[in-house]
Subunit: 753 residues, 2 copies
Amino acid sequence: MTLVWMVPVTGLAAVLFALWLAYDVLRRDTGTAAMQEISGMIFEGAMAFLSRQYRTIGALAIVTAVAVTVIVGSISEGVKPVVFQNGQVSFGATEIVGRWEEGLLTGIAFLVGAFCSGLAGYIGMFIAVRSNVRTAAAAQKSLKDAVTVSLRGGAVSGFLVVALSLLGVSGIFLVYSRVLDNPPEIVPFLIIGFGFGASFVALFAQLGGGIYTKAADVGADLVGKVEAGIPEDDPRNAAVVADLVGDNVGDCAGRGADLFESMSAENIGAMILGVAIFSVTRDIEWIMFPLVLRSFGIIATIVGLTSVPFFTDGDAKSKQDPMTPLNYGYYVVSALSVVGLFIATKVMLGDAWYWFFFCGLIGIGTGIAFVYITQYYTAGAWRPVQEIAQASRTGPATNIIIGTAVGFETTALTAISIGVALVGAFALGSQADIDPAIPGFTTGIFGTAVATMGMLMSAAYILSMDTFGPITDNAGGITEMSGAPESAREITDKLDAVGNTTKALTKGYAVASAGLAAFLLFSAYLDKVKERLGAPLTAELPIDLARVDVFVGGLLGVMLVFLFSSLAIRAVGNAAGAIIEEVRRQFRADPGIMAGTSRPDYGRAVDITARAALREMVLPGVLAVGMPIAVGLIFRFTRNDTVIIDNVAYDHASGWLAVAGMLIIGTIGGIMMATVLNNGGGAWDNAKKFIESGGLKDENGVPLGKGSEAHKAAVVGDTVGDPFKDTAGPSLHVLIKLLATITLVLAPLFISK
Amino acid sequence: MTLVWMVPVTGLAAVLFALWLAYDVLRRDTGTAAMQEISGMIFEGAMAFLSRQYRTIGALAIVTAVAVTVIVGSISEGVKPVVFQNGQVSFGATEIVGRWEEGLLTGIAFLVGAFCSGLAGYIGMFIAVRSNVRTAAAAQKSLKDAVTVSLRGGAVSGFLVVALSLLGVSGIFLVYSRVLDNPPEIVPFLIIGFGFGASFVALFAQLGGGIYTKAADVGADLVGKVEAGIPEDDPRNAAVVADLVGDNVGDCAGRGADLFESMSAENIGAMILGVAIFSVTRDIEWIMFPLVLRSFGIIATIVGLTSVPFFTDGDAKSKQDPMTPLNYGYYVVSALSVVGLFIATKVMLGDAWYWFFFCGLIGIGTGIAFVYITQYYTAGAWRPVQEIAQASRTGPATNIIIGTAVGFETTALTAISIGVALVGAFALGSQADIDPAIPGFTTGIFGTAVATMGMLMSAAYILSMDTFGPITDNAGGITEMSGAPESAREITDKLDAVGNTTKALTKGYAVASAGLAAFLLFSAYLDKVKERLGAPLTAELPIDLARVDVFVGGLLGVMLVFLFSSLAIRAVGNAAGAIIEEVRRQFRADPGIMAGTSRPDYGRAVDITARAALREMVLPGVLAVGMPIAVGLIFRFTRNDTVIIDNVAYDHASGWLAVAGMLIIGTIGGIMMATVLNNGGGAWDNAKKFIESGGLKDENGVPLGKGSEAHKAAVVGDTVGDPFKDTAGPSLHVLIKLLATITLVLAPLFISK
């Protein structure tokens, strides 16, 4: 059990570090009274949205937990021990966990997962919306202060997410194995409910948050800039606070839940894959390894994050790009992750450890690659964004056409990077010769799991940079609305631009981790099917693409991705309609608002948008949860097909085969679509910013800035890209993982023997 | 050999019928001198483009034919006879066709396929661009005359495509089996080059034509309507003839090549599947059945097409919707297809014929379903288009957002229809008990082939309606430019609107047929792999989705779909830039053009666009051809994996496995994306038309017609949709089928033993 002690220690250390960061941020200067007033409204709005949202999600989660308990209990045949005999890993004949006990443990794990995810999101956001005004105040002093405050505020969220995921999974593992006295190899199958709970919260947090944030943004723009002709962030616009609240609920709470889920599902999936190796070697390290590696990631991130201020220029007149210190910090995290990876693999993974060390390196490298790929496609310094800006000169249509082409193009490097990482990690892993009874296929898949873990070692840092985004965006808004001096605005504008980049690259990172994790979660699903069929874990269970049920399942999976995106995009439009109506109503009801003599009712606008967003998230949410279940049940009951595993024929295979096709092909479609939507949207956004900063020039070299026809066209592209990159795209990450966890938990439902 | 005599007879009958239609169209009134002049320019432009395009394609095809001959010859191990022994279908030990002979026969088949496709496209278009002025002249008389001329003109293309595909496949089959004296069961493997040749021409015809047509359209609009402020189809715009030419090269020649390929590839794929059954029953009907069913389709279509004038209102003041008689004609075709299907299955397919009869019915039903699904999503009478029109009231951004949401949404019914058809046809087919040695899997796949054939029975009719589109569009342009009377314009406007619908539904039909055909072509690919491995045809060859090479192949397949679409869309922008420059140059060089005193140089504009379009089609074309080959070779040489078939282990499986994943998952992605692009584009187009026709009203019930802000927003959507629906979407149909035929021909390249 070497190194396993690190898991609770680093988990608690991360929580303490987050608390210290929170303390450090909260004790800082909160600026002028005007700034505090605005910040107070944002805080109130954000908390009001969050409590409304978590009440809704909580109610849904409790109903679902009961449903999961009942369904799993009634379809379960109990959990059987994993046995190793004659060189084959299989399941014993008599169960050691009863069917209703399995149902109950799964349901409890679901609730714990949902609760931990919600808690991390809530506290993280609580601090984020108190960091914004402090960042705005710090910006009046220096860039260094502003970067420090905003990054630390964001890091509270980053560390809590990682720590609660680690403590949650390891805690429930401890309770289920030690307290309830279950053999360690069956526990990963009992705690998959944790991953499902995390996905469930993430789906609704990301969907609801994504719909809210863009409804408020689009609504505020349309009714303010377009209809009333007042500038962005103008205090006369009743929707402006809702807009600032929105940035937090989408990027902070939503993305936090997204990555919380990635890590939890990936931990549990990797532990399930470790079971196959453990049952041969009887060496618990294979099951605990994912958690230990995460612990090293926490240490690396604490050091990396603390190092950022040292790289930041203290000179008040400095022209330093704030992205530079953030990048340096990331290098520190990456370098220390490599060291941690080396120690963990060498100490824990036996003689063939170095193969897995290389797999982990691939993962760390993939993370870095995605950070750069995303920057290339979404930052103004490179061809893609500039091309869109150029196309804006011939109007909105060409802006949209070229933006779409750029979005589609981004799939190329994404797919190649994920493909190279998977093939490489699998090839290296399959070389590891642990025991003759463990086939190269099993160690290869474990290799892809190590790559995913390696990549996610830096998750807390990436999340800190992500939450940095809404904090600096809000700081900019507060500075603007409170009439702060020009020098402070310059700093917050700079930070805001960097925040756009960090938000975009977190999405790229989330997509890549979802892509890598998909493969191992799929393998875990197949293990679960084998468990239910009573087939050996080491047997090959081919999901044959030439079968009509697998093909049609896949077709429906890709269709789900498109239909879900369609509903998510449409939801933004519908919810935006609600806030537009409200702002118009306020303008009509009180002419003093436009004149600047009376204050609009910001709270009401927040509340109406929140209600609309939560209403709109129901339909896509139900589709995401319901469709895999429906497909599995329809195929199970209408088609009777046979598959042969190790020369034994199993009837009624269509249900779980169609679901397998849907899961994996839907995931491929989802990864690609999320890439298109995230990067396309990011590129449109920054093409507009590129024009605003005077980057686009006419034939005579005169900049075509704000107010030019080209800028108007770019605004159209930006507006189109908003629901793509902040609602549909991120929600697709969650959809992919929800598909994996829901099918993992409910696999027995699609199998009849 | 009952009924097989029908194949040459109906093939020749179709050619004769096409010639009679051509004669009938050409002898009709060609209208006023002004009309003839414009039509003459369109004719010249179209022929100039076509000869330039076919010269390019021809040169590429000859090079490719040589390459195919050399590659296939050098990787071949010769073709071995199919033998039936001990209840298993396998391949003999000694080849009966030498390796270089196989290469040569494949290369020749490639050239014949390419030639037949080109010939059908050329003649069809020759007549189409002579039908437009006759339709314009007929419109001055009555709706009935105009419908008759335009539909007959379009039918020349429709019948030639079907006839040349049928005669080509059956002719080459006859020569290779009778003249060269090869056993009939190996010939389908020798003529797969025909399908590849057809795909090859289709790819470039559709890509080049699609780029040309939209570059001219977008260019003409931007430089005319937007920059110079002159109306659409204004003779002062030098791009206007290029635009009219473009409609023909995209919808007539391009779509003709697309469906030529569908039918050829589907015929050959179905024949390969028939081989497995033939080798047991020794009953040649199983191989020839696809061709006979096509013959019945021709008869049904001739009758249906001839019946259309009887349903058309002869009254000159009639308010009849021209879609009505076209729909009636389609019902006639469908009803007669059912009769033909009944006869063909009953006479040819033994005692279990009725199972396949029902499979065919499913196919015919799917065809009808797609006609209605497409109409629902792209015609102004229903929710989707009206919703986009409504969204235009808040500007171009919301128009694009809702249009995208509608486009995504259309995947739902598409996927469900294809899924139901495949599962249904497979389930019915697998019930057919032909011989105990033939597994239900084999007859099930044959069932899906029969469904595809059933659907394609009406192909000639659908294609006639499709080519009706550009003819009526051109007739409208000629009427407009020649200043014909208002009554004639009313008729051509009506026909033009119907033409938009028929063009859209042909695309839906093409997607559905590609979806159904994909499954059987994939099975043919697996048979080809088995042939090469020497494995039994009846053995299961699982393409296991849990394998990393299959997964990554699939990921790259979906990526190919996006990247190819990106390049196609971008190509339109680039080529449009060329024509815009040219029109601007002409306006500058001769101010008399704008004043209306001198005529612009239409020919030069056509020529410049043609050259730009052909240049732009190279990159996406090379990507489409090169990527499957590259993936197959990279995986073949870098990864050494083993699969087990019937207890025999085969090494080095990664190459053909990755290609299999790419093929089938890429196809799923391609079908869905093509649906999104085609229907989204169609919906945007008709949302604009809906507003122009006064369908959109403000709060007070006043129509927001041309010139309103909503209309301007809708024009943006229409412009965005143009390259989606006319370039990228249709090119994806061809990409899907090219993937299938190229991998079928080059399968041995990805296998080392």
